[in-house]
């Protein structure tokens, strides 16, 4: 059974542990700093009226309402755009889809890679194929080792 998830924090170096701790502390402080208006607003709305100075300093309650209105309109606009586009692509699907039906055959592959069809068949049934290239990336040799079937 292969363990898909690897969690081995004890293998971290001392430097990694210290860096992670410092980044964590700084990040939490920054988040708290930027979410300070939210906490203040929550307090003010809950009735702590002495926070009104801070509310004014953050821009004022009226500004916040205007900002929220603007945000709301933008979000509704984006959602409407997405919705209309989804409807359009669902209804007009046949017109938007390409019609590629051609299946590439071995002759087509051999023409592009410049190798013989017999050589290709032989290589496809081998367990090990060693391929040599020239400087331009063109296949020069294909050596098979052992047939798989």
């Amino acid at each position: 059974m292969i363990n898909k998830i690897i969690i081995t924090p004890h293998l971290q170096s001392r430097q990694q542990k210290i860096s992670a701790f410092c980044i964590a502390a700084i990040s939490w402080l920054l988040w708290l700093y930027f979410l300070l208006p939210l906490l203040t607003l929550a307090g003010w709305l809950l009735g702590f009226k002495h926070l009104s100075t801070e509310i004014r300093w953050f821009g004022g309650y009226k500004t916040l309402l205007e900002l929220l209105q603007m945000y709301g309109l933008i979000i509704v606009g984006i959602a409407l755009g997405w919705f209309l586009w989804t409807l359009f692509t669902s209804w007009w699907k046949p017109a938007l889809l390409p019609t590629h039906q051609v299946l590439v055959d071995d002759a087509g592959l051999c023409a592009v890679f410049q190798i013989g069809q017999e050589q290709l068949q032989q290589s496809r049934s081998a367990k090990l194929v060693t391929v040599g290239f020239d400087a331009a990336g063109q296949i020069t040799t294909m050596t098979t080792t052992q047939a798989s079937h």
């Binding site: 690897i6 924090p9 971290q12 300070l36 989804t86 590629h100 290589s123 060693t130």
Partner: protein, 446 residues
């Protein structure tokens, strides 16, 4: 004679200098600065909602309605043969694990083609051993190192199937993934490729844990939104399925592009092929867990994006390319955004040191706008992790806590790598073959 010509020229230079100085002083720097600040602040906010609403629509349209769940294979009308390609370069440590996991695929007809791209370690010996042990495994040995794109091209030629699933040599493919990906090709002749859902394996360090959240929340959300839109910026290089005829149509992977996955995605879509996203095709991958490793990886991704923007600009004016315009614009604007952020950081540093520190610090003080950005960020993480929760139970709750570092740590890294990648892409010689890079695969400790 010489003097009579020199003095008027000198006078002209001085006059020009004064005119320019006057123009520079009168230029609306204040307004320009404000516009740049708004752009830096509002662009990510706008895009967050674009991705989030697109992701929710994807969920409602495909994931929720179809009632699909990971852990169960879909029932298909037919099971066409599939070739699984694994390009390996110095994968001696991982190849056995990768192939043994592949042998557990819940799919009736498949072969595994492991490509040894001139490895310097014991990869070839291990692959040969596995080929002898298991009937489905074949080995393609490239006599000299050619790069991932060449390895994939050669394997596509030698594959016995029309459908190719490509994974990395250190990845673990979920046992139902092939069936989930192949369902997109059946009855949909326009589908040229399907991209899977990479999951992070190594979660020992802070960087590892942030990437779990990043792939679940940010990458998954963007892929979902792009699929809703109808065009995808890139197939995951680590897990993708292809129709060989589509690859043949566009000339296969380009050996000279540093990120062959972004390149093939654009080539296919420019030729009119569609790319689908399959969230149930899980693939467990190793990611860097050091800053240096992460910086190199992200710089390579950024460079790859810029290379693609440069190479396919001239092809954007065709009918098939019309729907790629928004992706092209988004990528270009994001790049511009990174440069402007760097510029503003430099200017703010100078202002802080020389000019008016108080004013500069005031710009960073909390206001309603910064609060709304933080709340949006937290909301986006919550929504995307909730959507993604069905693929990894309890990951959402567990890694939500770690996501708070994403804007602080990752945005800074991504801004730096975007600029670095751009410079590298501009300096790169056209036609230069892309080579494998030694990657940091995190702490494994086995």
């Amino acid at each position: 004679m010489l003097q009579s010509q020199f003095y008027p020229f000198l006078q002209w230079l001085i006059d020009e200098w004064f005119i320019w100085q006057e123009w520079l002083e009168e230029a609306p720097w204040q307004t320009l600065g404000e516009w740049l600040s708004w752009f830096v602040f509002y662009y990510p906010l706008l895009m967050t909602y674009v991705w989030m609403i697109g992701g929710i629509l994807y969920f409602l349209r495909w994931e929720w309605r179809d009632n699909v769940f990971a852990g169960v294979s879909p029932s298909l009308s037919e099971y066409p043969p599939v070739s699984i390609l694994i390009p390996c370069f110095n994968e001696g440590e991982n190849a056995r694990e990768t192939i043994e996991q592949l042998l557990q695929q819940d799919y009736p007809h498949y072969e595994i083609i492991a490509i040894n791209d001139g490895s310097k370690d014991n990869t070839l010996v291990i692959l040969e051993e596995l080929a002898q042990q298991h009937e489905q495994v074949r080995v393609v040995n490239l006599a000299s190192n050619q790069g991932k794109a060449m390895a994939l091209r050669t394997a596509a030629l030698l594959a016995n199937s029309e459908f190719l699933v490509c994974i990395d040599g250190d990845a673990l493919l979920d046992s139902q993934a092939v069936a989930w990906m192949i369902r997109h090709f059946i009855g949909h002749p326009h589908v040229g490729a399907v991209t899977g859902n990479p999951r992070i394996r190594n979660r020992s360090t802070l960087l590892g844990r942030i990437q779990v959240g990043e792939f679940s929340a940010i990458v998954g959300m963007i892929k979902r939104a792009q699929r809703t839109y109808g065009r995808i910026f890139t197939i995951s290089g680590v897990i993708g399925a292809f129709r060989r005829s589509a690859l043949h149509d566009v000339g296969y992977w380009s050996p000279d592009m540093i990120t062959e996955d972004i390149d093939i995605s654009w080539k296919l879509q420019l030729a009119g092929w569609s790319i689908h996203f399959e969230t149930n095709a899980l693939c467990w991958v190793l990611m860097p867990e050091t800053l240096v490793g992460l910086w190199k990886q992200r710089s390579r991704w950024a460079q790859g994006g810029v290379e693609v923007l440069g190479r396919y600009f001239s092809q954007l004016f065709t009918r098939n390319a019309l729907r790629l315009w928004p992706l092209y614009l988004e990528c270009s604007i994001s790049l511009l955004w990174s440069f402007i952020v760097v510029l503003l950081i430099v200017l703010a540093s100078f202002q802080l040191l020389l000019d008016s520190p108080q004013e500069t610090l005031d710009d960073f003080s909390p206001h309603w706008t910064s609060m709304l950005l933080c709340v949006t960020c937290l909301f986006q993480f919550a929504v995307s992790l909730a959507i993604d929760a069905r693929y990894e139970q309890r990951a959402g709750q567990k890694y939500y806590y770690w996501m708070i570092w994403y804007p602080m740590v990752y945005w800074l890294i991504n801004i730096g790598t975007a600029v670095n990648g751009f410079v590298k892409a501009v300096r790169k010689k056209r036609g230069q073959r892309a080579v494998w890079v030694t990657v940091d695969r995190g702490i494994k400790g086995q």
